[in-house]
């Protein structure tokens, strides 16, 4: 019997083309995997009937020799993407029951290329979080477990996406990344996650968090799968005024090209106090791997790195407070009745938004309010330019940059944190790419002392995703990452 769940996307695509398997068989296996791993809470809705319908249609198209890039491959969709006729809530109570009458551009692209929709994936509420613990549906669980059997967070905000890929309950999954929300969970779950250049994927139909930072991207098990899904997701879209017309490179062709002659930057500022020693060891190991494959390592400086997170925690909440003004109980979503319009707004929003979302709305409103705008918001935007300038200078000397993806491995679900800033530090290595608008990829590269996945991050020039896929494949080959999650579908063996 074919072991459907162990096929990579590129393998499954080839098996479908040669009629060794059908999409209905593959999709049925994945629907079974979702049921088997339901305890991970990584899906918030399963669209089984729709999946089987789409799979049958894919089989017909393949039969007619018309298959798209990801024809017949099962896809999980982060609940931040609006999907026509399927509830889309951004994992927030305020959007409970919201059923979009339209389809996001990214998911429309995926269905046009033959993707089969499995369901909607858990995430932090409005993508605000780094552990998937702010979701109105409760936390998603990392399929990897600590030796003591304690449940670990999958990271966030795209925690359900990373968890489902690692658990083999999705073959491909969408995510969004505003400060690290694809790359950090990818690292925590031992999967590949890509945040492309700002403007590469359309933001149309994705619930907005911080519009100048939000980008959609793919989660997959391998670098080659990731390139394939990225090619299916990306497009120029007139409905997103920040969408880029720069042509997409041949990403699948870049996989396997190697790194011979490439200059790889190693930024001295990406070392933090209290950083896990395993993370430092793995970063050095990654540098050795690239050198052995023919790359030249170049020490670089990104001097404003330490100011990226504080700048982000002004800019992102400011944009969020503005974007989330639309949830007012009038046009869609939940409403709490009250005697006056203002009381209705205030009560609706207090009841519908969770604590972290309310905290960020308050911070954002404060930094934009009269008298504070210059001191906070404009100051942060000036620092943002300095961070972008750091990267511009670095990319004058190197082709890509290698950093750790996260300062530690996944931590326990429900760990007590008194200070919200502690949680924010998870994104210290990823947030700079969002502020600068450059692409970044997390590749699983090893494990820590407890056997938990750790990732490396590769950063590149704007619109040069291809180089990241070349570097990513070399890291994947050298690392030969083989940590098997305890809680994955089809058994742990």
């Amino acid at each position: 019997m074919t072991d459907y769940l162990s096929l990579s996307a590129t393998e499954a695509r080839a098996a479908l083309d040669s009629k060794k398997i059908s999409s209905v068989e593959l999709t049925t296996a994945y629907l079974g995997a979702i049921e088997e791993t339901a305890g991970l809470n990584n899906y918030v809705a399963v669209t089984a009937d729709k999946a089987l319908e789409m799979a049958a249609a894919s089989d017909a198209r393949i039969g007619a020799g018309e298959g798209g890039l990801i024809e017949g491959l099962p896809v999980g969709v982060k609940d931040l993407f609006c999907t026509k006729g399927v509830a889309s809530t951004a994992c927030s109570n305020i959007l409970n029951g919201f059923t979009p009458p339209y389809e996001s551009t990214v998911t429309a692209n995926l269905w046009r290329e033959g993707g089969v929709m499995l369901g909607k994936l858990n995430c932090d509420e409005f993508a605000m979080g780094s552990a998937n613990e702010t979701s109105a549906y409760g936390p998603a669980i990392n399929p990897h477990q600590a030796a003591d059997g304690v449940n670990l967070v999958p990271g966030g905000s795209s925690g359900g996406s990373a968890s489902a890929i690692a658990a083999r309950s999705a073959l491909l999954a969408t995510g969004t990344d505003t400060g690290g929300s694809i790359r950090q969970p990818a690292a925590f779950c031992g999967v590949v996650g890509m945040k492309p250049t700002y403007g590469r994927c359309s933001r149309w139909g994705i619930v907005a968090f911080a519009s100048s930072l939000d980008q959609a991207g793919p989660f997959t098990r391998t670098v080659a799968d990731n390139a394939l899904m990225m090619e299916a997701m990306a497009s120029y879209d007139a409905k997103d005024s920040t969408s880029a017309q720069t042509p997409l490179q041949d990403l699948s062709g870049a996989v396997g090209k190697g790194v011979k002659g490439l200059k790889i930057g190693v930024p001295s500022e990406y070392v933090m106090d209290g950083m896990d020693s395993d993370v430092v060891r793995l970063w050095e190991q990654g540098q050795e791997w690239l050198k052995a494959a023919g790359a030249e390592l170049v020490e670089i400086s990104l001097p404003h790195t330490k100011y990226a997170l504080p700048a982000y925690y002004i800019i992102a909440p400011a944009e969020a407070s503005s974007n989330l003004a639309r949830y007012d109980g009038v046009r869609y979503g939940q409403r709490v009745e009250a005697d006056t319009l203002d009381e209705m707004y205030g009560a609706t929003r207090a009841a519908g938004f969770g604590d972290e979302v309310q905290r960020r709305i308050m911070i954002g409103t404060y930094v934009l309010s009269a008298g504070y705008y210059d001191a906070y918001y404009l100051k942060a935007q000036r620092v943002r330019r300095l961070i972008r300038d750091d990267f511009d200078a670095a990319f004058g000397k190197v082709d890509a940059i290698l950093t750790p993806a996260t300062p530690s491995a996944a931590f326990a679900v429900g760990r007590k944190v008194d200070d919200p800033v502690t949680n924010y530090l998870n994104d210290v290595f990823t947030v700079t790419a969002n502020l600068a608008g450059i692409p970044g990829m997390a590749v699983p590269a090893g494990v820590n002392q407890d056997g938990l996945p750790l990732g490396l991050q590769v950063l590149g020039r704007p619109f040069d995703e291809a180089t990241l896929y070349s570097v990513g494949q070399v890291l994947e080959d050298a690392a030969d990452f083989s940590a098997v999650p305890a809680l994955r579908a089809g058994g742990a063996s």
Partner: protein, 95 residues
């Protein structure tokens, strides 16, 4: 720049987010924690640095000012909490 209880009330009002009186003290303390951390930015000299609002590198595209979309009232009203006669219904705002 420290946030006190009355600032919390003012911000909550601007954000149309009800914060109960007995929560305002706690919210102020949380916001101050975050703002103290953000104050690190004051170490950075940003004289003569222009604010960066967009990283796209291209100007916002323009198009003809013509109607390109619309005529689906039912779709727009499909998720409305309360509707009557093709309108959104809100509490009375004019006496």
């Amino acid at each position: 720049m420290s946030v006190d209880k009355s600032t919390v009330a003012k911000i909550a009002r601007l954000a149309r987010l009800h914060v109960a009186d007995d929560r305002q003290e706690a919210v102020a303390s949380e916001l101050n924690g975050i703002l103290d951390w953000i104050a690190e930015l004051n170490e950075v000299n940003t004289d003569n640095v222009e604010p960066l609002a967009s990283v796209t590198g291209h100007a916002l595209p323009l198009r003809e000012d013509v109607v390109t979309d619309g005529d689906y009232i039912d779709d727009i009203l499909a998720n409305v909490p309360e509707t009557a006669g093709g309108f959104f219904v809100v509490p009375k705002v004019v006496e």
